[in-house]
Symmetry: C6
Subunit: 263 residues, 6 copies
């Protein structure tokens, strides 16, 4: 069934680099041609580092739950570079600002022990402890990231940095900029949503159509605008309900109503 | 009598998990069908974790005193998961921010020693030392919670997180979000209030009607809009007064007049 | 004379509990029936804790100098509970925030060694180091108080908390709330003022009438609106002046002109 | 001459209490009947403490340089109380906030070793490190002062506190209040100014008249509104100039133009 | 090819001073006569220090990526002064404010060991940890820089300071000022852009014209307004794409659309 | 030539007091009668301290680069007092706030070891780490300065304090005030500018006239309004250019265009 399918694909991610794999759950669903474009832009960045520019930073940005982390992880693993590492707030719970800076700095120094490396810096705003109220953030971590992305690698060392964020405008205001940017969209059309449902194998064709119809009836909207992550979570909860399509339609309708704008 | 009844039901809560039981006083009164719906949504979340998604976070939100903590505790105890734990500001009086973060982090690590766990994080805004003036809050605790809720459990570990709050809008502004949400209402109608009074056994049918009539006369309103917790406290104080229904009506009228809006 | 009278009644307060007595000077003057109502509400709170609810918090609020501390102390002493304790900023001069929190926490833990206790937390805003400019306050102390008032006592322990404040609105904005509230008024009418003067024994009936007349002439107002504390201080200074009623009228008129609104 | 006169009167201040004397330079000039009234109000406060109220706080307030410190010192010395002490920012340069609080607290504890004491707390706003920009101030010192002024002395101990400030409105906003207040004015009329000049012995009657006339011509104003302190400094500088009255008129005119409002 | 060309010229920079060379990549392209003017102004500053003024500070300012660091480095190296040193945030990742101040102070003291020195302080705003949100910055580092630039060197010591910034207005608001200023422009005209492309050797004349035409078509603008640094990065990425001119045009068009104003 | 002339006059400053001399470069040019007035006011202050007032503080204020430090140093040296000392931010790079306070306090205590002393406190705003953004400043240093200026010297000790600032209004807002004030103007007229050029000996009469004419043509203004310090720096840079008068005119025109208002 659907859940088992998710479990199954896990090892796919973990092959090259266990570190990254542990944090990713499920496979990439090619629900839109944009997914191919995104991964193609990733390959271009990888080749630029491999063959020309010794350091390149790329910002993978998009709305919450749109799949940024999974896509950046896929790019990193597909590079087959000898050094692949994830920098993530999850691994620094309870660290002081100084400890975080040192940990990040160490990851860059480790990367420079290999000829070719890729570092995924996941969820920059979380790493910065950023909160819109105040606003507050760790300027120490911010400045360290800016300086490390700006710094030329040692001789014969090459490094790609993939940073993810759902707060691109905020990062710009904080003077955090990458050299390139890749945008990740939400699941936006009913066709894309249908593709995801079909891929899950959890719904009959009939149930899937009923669910989409009910969503449209409730929201009065044919546009979806919800991240793949929330859709998959909704699916998992719905499978526990006797009325699976009904529950899924309710969850999706609520998510659509709560859509947040992204810039 | 009423008070003894409350004392009596206490052990009910404490059976599965003494930790939680100690903090809850009294039983769940089914004064409205919403109470059943809420507990049903809790069961769905429990099954999702048990059978499909290894980690799920649910926000139990509602006005002050509406019964969030008691309902979240009930859900947790009814899960019968081998690990059940409450994280509460009450147990961290005098802790530094760093000590709080470490305590919370430890609870999560403890949970991951069991195959199935549920953590109730009670009153998130209190845990964050949140005050509207400033506003001020502990960004350290906030970021730790966000990171811990986002983190995949170790292999073969499953965890449900039930967080309670009466400041849902604030939490949203602080970027604290759960994957699912359950709303807990106030006691809103005179029928619901009557149900609670009847259940208490403290009032004769006549006294109960007189009290409700007096409340309506004083406030000029048939809507109640007061949390179950304040109603039960009002009842306990009133039982000490010679004019029990009169005192209760006065206390309730003041509470109704001071109703705070909730979003 | 008046001053000696004040000295004399002092031991009355100090009987049950020396701690409290040391901080109170003078007796309660029953200048209005509100004083009886206030003390009656105190008795109801005491009985609720004794017989029903194991923990209850009551906010004694009113304008500066209206007699809140004296009345809360009277309620505490009249409870005859085995544990009676005052928490006051005066005893924590030079403490760090952490030391204050630990001192307060210890007082609660001490209270829970007795079956029945009452804690008077005097002048919450002072305890919080609250200043309107900024505003500034100790969030550490605030959060500790909120958590301690919310916490269920250990089995078979019962505790009444009487908190005093002249900044009720501020406390509300700081999310500090008690379960019940008792309002303490100023000395508002000329009759009430006359009662106080008569009780002091310092004025002849004629002098007393002259003073009140002069106050009305100067302020153009028959309303008094000054706290009992300032009236008694004014009396003491006036007794040093050769023209006692004249000086008293001048002091009172200035106080009336400087009346601060209270909400 | 004038300067020698100032030097001469110095010991007068220092007799009773060297501590205070060292900080005061020159004598009290009775240039207006208000000076007598102010000192009379001081005597009333002293007697109130001696005979009736065990603790009393008085705020001596007025524009910068109006003579507040000198007048408070005179009151303190004239009390002939066995304990007289000055608390002043000048003696705490380089102290941390905590050290200041402890120093102040110690002074109060020292005072309570004598049956009768007077503490002059000079220039409260300076003691608080208060700056209008921000605004900034030491909340620690502020709260310590508020608490110490509020605290009942030990049995058989009596204490008068004379606090000086030129920022009365600010102190009120900071919740710092004394039980009584004494206002100190500027030198406001030409007659008062003439009295001061005559008392100095530095000017011939003619020069004095010429100086006052020139001031009026330059400023177009008959009101003076300058503190006694600045007038005396102006006198001292002028005596070094060959054209003494001309220089004095220029200095005074500039001071009058720069008059700051006081509330 | 282009990339190899860049690699080749590297040693040119590193000859005089390895420290500086390591941080610079590629050669100076004389795409406009302004480049000659800028370097001429640099020579004037060098001679002023060599022959007349013992200390001189010059601010090299311009939009992000306009080539400020490379040009300042070229000036420094061309001076052939015995002491040449770069102060850069990159070398102080994880330093406390105090450590940064000490490091900067040490560099100045080292400079004063040589008769003639030049210090490049790169990217002042980064060194100050400056962020527009707040705004926040290290006042400690700022004040140290201001004081060090203001200080006369020891006898017989001469020092030129070249500071770079893309935040001239901010620095002015922070009271950071140099004695002289040199402005560095973007690549602004199509002719200048063509010069850069031709110099790279990566494009055929035809491809170059096609790229510029496509940029104009997309943006509807003949002005370029992009820094040389972003143009060179765009070139490097484009060489990895099969459709090199098309990719370059897309990257440039995006950069032109995102042009930020500079003052 | 001009530069040598500057070098030559240096020892003039350093005679009396090497400390001060080291920080001043060049001589005082009497380009306007205001320079004489300023130095005369300095002599008056010196005599007031010598003969009458034991402590006096004077604020030497004016636009940036107008010559405040040089003039205050001249006054100090001309006093021939046995103790002369400069307090300057330059000598406290890397000091903590507390260390600065202690250093300043020590200088005052040292001064009180001599019967007659003068302390130049240079650039108060720099000493306070003052930045308009925020604004931020060291309240510790500010309060120490205020207290030290207010404090009576020990018996038989006399002290003149000369403080310089280009931020008089800011200091007033910070409650920092001296007893007297001396204003230092810019070089304002073409005649004054000609005087300076002539004194430098660097220009022929013809070149000087051409330079001033070109300045007027470029700016369309006959007012100069630039500090003597920037004029002298402009002169030194211009002497390195082949077209000396042209370069000087360009530098001056830019300075005139960037004139900042001063209050
Ligand atoms: N086409 C896809 N792109 C990205 N993720 C996909 C896709 N198809 C399926 N997924 C799955 O969807 C989930 C996307 O979650 P992910 O954490 O990557 O999103 P995110 O944008 O990083 O979320 P957040 O904003 O919370 O950081 C993953 O579990 C991933 O396996
Ligand atoms: N249907 C019900 N739902 C919830 N609580 C109930 C219900 N019936 C009775 N109760 C009792 O009401 C009280 C609810 O208090 P609880 O502390 O859970 O409210 P809360 O919403 O968490 O309050 P707060 O906003 O202060 O955290 C408990 O004592 C509980 O035993
Ligand atoms: N009826 C009364 N109620 C209260 N206090 C009274 C009464 N009659 C006399 N008093 C005396 O008046 C004084 C009241 O002062 P108290 O400190 O209690 O006021 P308060 O409201 O707590 O002041 P503050 O706002 O400064 O804390 C006490 O000395 C008390 O003995
Ligand atoms: N009538 C008077 N009242 C007060 N001071 C007088 C009087 N006559 C002369 N003096 C002298 O005037 C000076 C007043 O200065 P003082 O420091 O007391 O003023 P202040 O108001 O405390 O100033 P500041 O606002 O700076 O604290 C003293 O030197 C004092 O000797
Ligand atoms: N005429 C030129 N001027 C400056 N740099 C040039 C020029 N021609 C080629 N370059 C190259 O362009 C790049 C300019 O980057 P540089 O880091 O100096 O820019 P910057 O303005 O300092 O950027 P930032 O604002 O990020 O600090 C360097 O690699 C340099 O070798
Ligand atoms: N008449 C004059 N007055 C002052 N300085 C003069 C005069 N004539 C020549 N100079 C020279 O001009 C320079 C003035 O610089 P100085 O540092 O004193 O100015 P400043 O106002 O203190 O500057 P800043 O605002 O930067 O502190 C000194 O080198 C001094 O030797
Ligand atoms: Mg992510
Ligand atoms: Mg709760
Ligand atoms: Mg009180
Ligand atoms: Mg004073
Ligand atoms: Mg640069
Ligand atoms: Mg200067």
């Amino acid at each position: 069934d659907f859940i088992d399918a998710l479990e199954e694909v896990k090892p796919l991610f973990g092959v090259a680099e266990e570190e990254l794999g542990k944090r990713i759950r499920g496979d990439i669903i090619y629900y839109s041609r944009y997914i191919n474009d995104i991964l193609e832009e990733g390959r271009l960045a990888i080749n630029t580092v491999r063959k020309s520019k010794p350091i390149l930073s790329v910002l993978v940005h998009g709305p919450p739950g749109s799949g940024k982390t999974a896509l950046a992880a896929k790019m990193a693993i597909d590079s087959a570079f000898p050094f692949i590492k994830l920098i993530s707030a999850e691994d620094m719970v309870g660290f002081t600002e100084m400890q975080k800076v040192q940990q990040i700095d160490k990851t860059f120094r480790d990367a420079y022990k290999s000829a070719l490396g890729v570092i995924v810096i996941d969820n920059i705003e979380l790493l910065l402890d950023w909160v819109p109220i105040g606003p507050r953030f760790s300027n120490g971590v911010l400045q360290a990231l800016i300086a490390l992305l700006d710094k030329q690698p040692p001789k014969d060392r090459r490094l790609l940095i993939l940073a993810t964020t759902s707060q691109r405008t905020v990062l710009e205001q904080l003077n955090f900029r990458c050299e390139e940017e890749i945008a990740v969209p939400n699941v936006n059309t009913q066709e894309e949503l249908a593709h995801v449902l079909r891929h899950s194998g959890a719904f009959s064709e009939e149930d899937q159509q009923r669910a989409i119809r009910e969503i449209q009836d409730t929201t009065g909207d044919t546009e979806v605008g919800v991240g793949i992550k929330r859709i998959l979570t909704g699916l998992e909860i719905s499978t526990q309900d006797q009325d699976m399509p009904g529950r899924f339609a309710r969850i999706m309708s609520r998510a659509i109503a709560a859509r947040t704008s992204f810039a």
